[in-house]
């Protein structure tokens, strides 16, 4: 299936989950990454159960914060 990952067209096997995509894309410090699929944010607890489908647009966003 065709995915757009961080703006880049990619080809992946059908049935891929968000958790698997994070591994394949070698996303660093995934515990601090927010994922959106077609502009909808995915709860981190369901990455392993969320399957991607052909045409999905996936973004990885790093948490940014701090203080004082």
């Amino acid at each position: 299936m065709k995915l757009t990952v961080a703006g880049n067209a990619k080809e992946y096997a059908n049935g891929l989950t968000v958790a698997q995509l994070i591994e394949l894309e070698k996303v660093e410090t995934p515990q601090y990454v927010t994922v959106s699929i077609n502009d909808e944010f995915v709860e981190s607890g369901v990455f392993a159960n969320t399957s991607l489908k052909d045409g999905d647009n996936v973004e990885f966003l790093y948490f940014m914060g701090g203080g004082r």
């Binding site: 703006g7 660093e28 410090t29 601090y32 927010t34 959106s36 502009d39 944010f41 973004e59 966003l61 790093y62 948490f63 940014m64 914060g65 701090g66 203080g67 004082r68």
Partner: protein, 137 residues
């Protein structure tokens, strides 16, 4: 040493954004071009601070996503972020360092603690703070 080039008008917009957010911290993103060790900021994104706190900030993922798409559409790359310290110096706090995951990003801190604003730039590589040169033009 990495150099961050920031337009005077963008510097002034960051200061105004931070002052308008007082007493809370204010934050935003920086985008532009990177050429070796020189990063030129072409666009700043003045974002909200969902923490609404004088001691903490975080960037709203929805605003972050919109900014990332805009950067891409304009041919810019993400260069880093900025946030204000309303009552503490323009240095990275322990929390700032702990939450600085991106070794390629520049972290700009604007202090409003003194009579005049002070803006400094840093990188964080492997938990170590690396000062960067800030050039306002």
């Amino acid at each position: 040493m990495t150099t961050i080039r920031l337009k005077q008008q963008d510097y002034e917009a960051i200061v105004a954004h931070a002052k308008s957010g007082l007493p809370n911290e204010a934050c935003g993103l920086l985008a532009g071009k990177a050429d070796g060790d020189v990063k030129t900021v072409e666009k700043i994104y003045l974002l909200s601070n969902p923490d609404n706190s004088p001691e903490h900030f975080s960037i709203d993922p929805k605003e972050q996503l919109a900014a990332v798409k805009d950067m891409r559409a304009n041919g810019f790359v993400p260069l880093g972020n900025f946030h204000s310290h309303p009552s503490t110096p323009a240095r990275l706090s322990e929390e700032d360092i702990r939450l600085a995951y991106d070794g390629k990003a520049s972290y700009l801190i604007l202090s409003l603690a003194g009579e005049s604003p002070v803006l400094n730039a840093f990188g964080v590589v492997g938990g170590e703070v690396v000062p960067q040169k800030l050039s306002i033009f």
